[in-house]
Symmetry: C2
Subunit: 416 residues, 2 copies
Amino acid sequence: MALTPTRSAAEALDSQDPLAHKRDEFFIEEGTIYLDGNSLGPAPKAVFDSIDRTMREEWAKGLIRSHNTAGWFMLTDTLGDRLAQLLGAGEGEIVVCDTTSLNIYKTLHAALSMKPGRRKIVAEGTSFPTNLYMAEGVRSTLDGATLALEGRDGDRIEDMIDADTAVVMLNHVDYRSGVIRDVKALTKLAHERGALVMVDMCHSAGVIPVDLHDLNVDFAVGCTYKYLNGGPGSPAYAYAAKRHHGKFTQPLSGWHGHAAPFKFEQSYRQGEGARALLCGTQHTLSMRALQSGLAVFDDVEITDLYSKGRALSDLFVQLVESFADDFGIGFYSPKDGTLRNGQVSLTHAEGGYAIVQALIARGVIGDFRQPNVMRFGFTPLYLRFADVWDAANHLYEVMKTEEWKEDRFNVVNTVT
Amino acid sequence: MALTPTRSAAEALDSQDPLAHKRDEFFIEEGTIYLDGNSLGPAPKAVFDSIDRTMREEWAKGLIRSHNTAGWFMLTDTLGDRLAQLLGAGEGEIVVCDTTSLNIYKTLHAALSMKPGRRKIVAEGTSFPTNLYMAEGVRSTLDGATLALEGRDGDRIEDMIDADTAVVMLNHVDYRSGVIRDVKALTKLAHERGALVMVDMCHSAGVIPVDLHDLNVDFAVGCTYKYLNGGPGSPAYAYAAKRHHGKFTQPLSGWHGHAAPFKFEQSYRQGEGARALLCGTQHTLSMRALQSGLAVFDDVEITDLYSKGRALSDLFVQLVESFADDFGIGFYSPKDGTLRNGQVSLTHAEGGYAIVQALIARGVIGDFRQPNVMRFGFTPLYLRFADVWDAANHLYEVMKTEEWKEDRFNVVNTVT
């Protein structure tokens, strides 16, 4: 069986792709089809020289002076302002710092501090686990606080937001399925009921259009190592809407969030705007790597990226549909491309993990998420339509030959 | 006036220095005398290739697989265990992660969780400010918690530890003066009174002998970008004594601290040992840079480093003493070398900041700390006795010629 549309048809789409040249800005090894940019983005080529310069010039030669002369100390703000342009936020509303987990803790606390009479956090039960763990951490430090999960303590968030709800924690895009949630409508509802909204944008920033002002959320967080290609463990970010500046507190009150960090005062005085979400000294090499990741977006429109991402993933859906039923492959993500970001997740009752491993051995890198989800991210900056065709064809071959049943693909690693 | 001992005498000490060869492992620019290794250590030469390999091989080629194949995911533990060897701790007692500020928050909470009937945190009022700010943050999240500062709420910590004291936060070495505190005796006292001890080792680790088991502290934190030469913003560490493993909780309960991070469970279950102090995804490039910093210690004994550091700083004291009174220079650090780490801090009523700037212009890099403290770190891994002599001589000339009064040295930067 030959898959339709044909590989030639996919190649034809590549030849007309106005974003095709962006692939050259990344290091992608020959023979690798990288469908895991939704977990860790590949390396922008510019990062190698940038980090080398940071080490040899800024650190080795500039030494401690580089906090000023190379702008290290303010990277939290300069990177935050750059990110704000991508995410429809304003200057001073985003800081780049720490990890997503920590920024969840800070922003949930910030929201709760603004709603002293309310004690409930409402979240999606399908959230990435650390979001729920951090919400538990917040709850543990606030007398009488509660955490209610959609799907566990209620069916729909719409029905769970009540007069005791301080903050609703949403995911702009679900990490397993790629489904886009209607954050704008939920935020409107939450506000009508007197609650605030914090949204996690790990799986939306850099791949679908995001306009934080239009969504009207109160706080937001996200990581930068996925679609923003900031590198392994690159720093996260936190957003606080300008209307709330100066009106919240959060307990991770480290010196970088102080109004005057170098006055070395004995008591904490909160810094301005989103700077009140800063805590300790940031990881400079990782911050600089992110700078290269963000620079890739300088000459592209997110709307164009989104269109291409949809077209890539729609092609994958179309190709896989032609053989899915024959091999027990199910669609975890909706087939309708308007409902998801550029991710397509599939299921397989017995073989999810092993199928992903067999594909990796063929150079097609996706990932597996418990209990049975195979995730494939279609990131428009560096993927070609021909790659999508090849990936679908490899999947077809892995299933048809039952290659995935080989023992070597059924050894579970520590980290999957 | 020529300083005594002479430069030739200093050179003679260099020629007999068994650690002299270590300097070659660092990048130190010709003409720079770096006395700020107590703020940011210089670059170990090995770091350039190490980070280049991390970027080009592990990230660019290994991609997401490197969490396993390159050991990224477990760097928190492998680096922690390496550090444990330097600090007299055991395997599984130290994790490398996040920032000092955050680790203070976690360990203070951990200590308080073990003393539910007690609500007081006792700390030194002279602590680096972020320590106090983070203690305020902890206090703000715990009903009835209080924070008492030595020098503000009591004269001596010895007299402040009472039946309500849950945890005493100490500094092994004072960041302004370099004075070593008797942590062992204070810990004994605190334990006798039923309190726990958390110690900050930012200014002791890597420069004076540290034996956490002998000190018998309960928790500890520290940064790695000073004497451990991990690079700008390199990750911090947290120690939890084995006897407390499994007996504390802390609210920054992110997925890396979970007992089974990749099972993606909906509720938090704390990981083993010090891993319960982990939170989110770590900053890989910064973690790898620290690895090069720690490797420098592979073939040296801390006791030898300490002896040389003392000799270097004693020489500086001796040289400065010969002209200090003539120019209004005071000793903020004790002159007695047995009382301090390798740091000598001086004071000057009007000129502290400007004198430091004038020295920097001459290639002698120290730093300034409010209100009038000039800090000079004498780090034994790469400093020569001749450097010490030159530094003292530059200081003498800056004072004698009143060079520090020039306008250009009196412009205060944002970050000092």
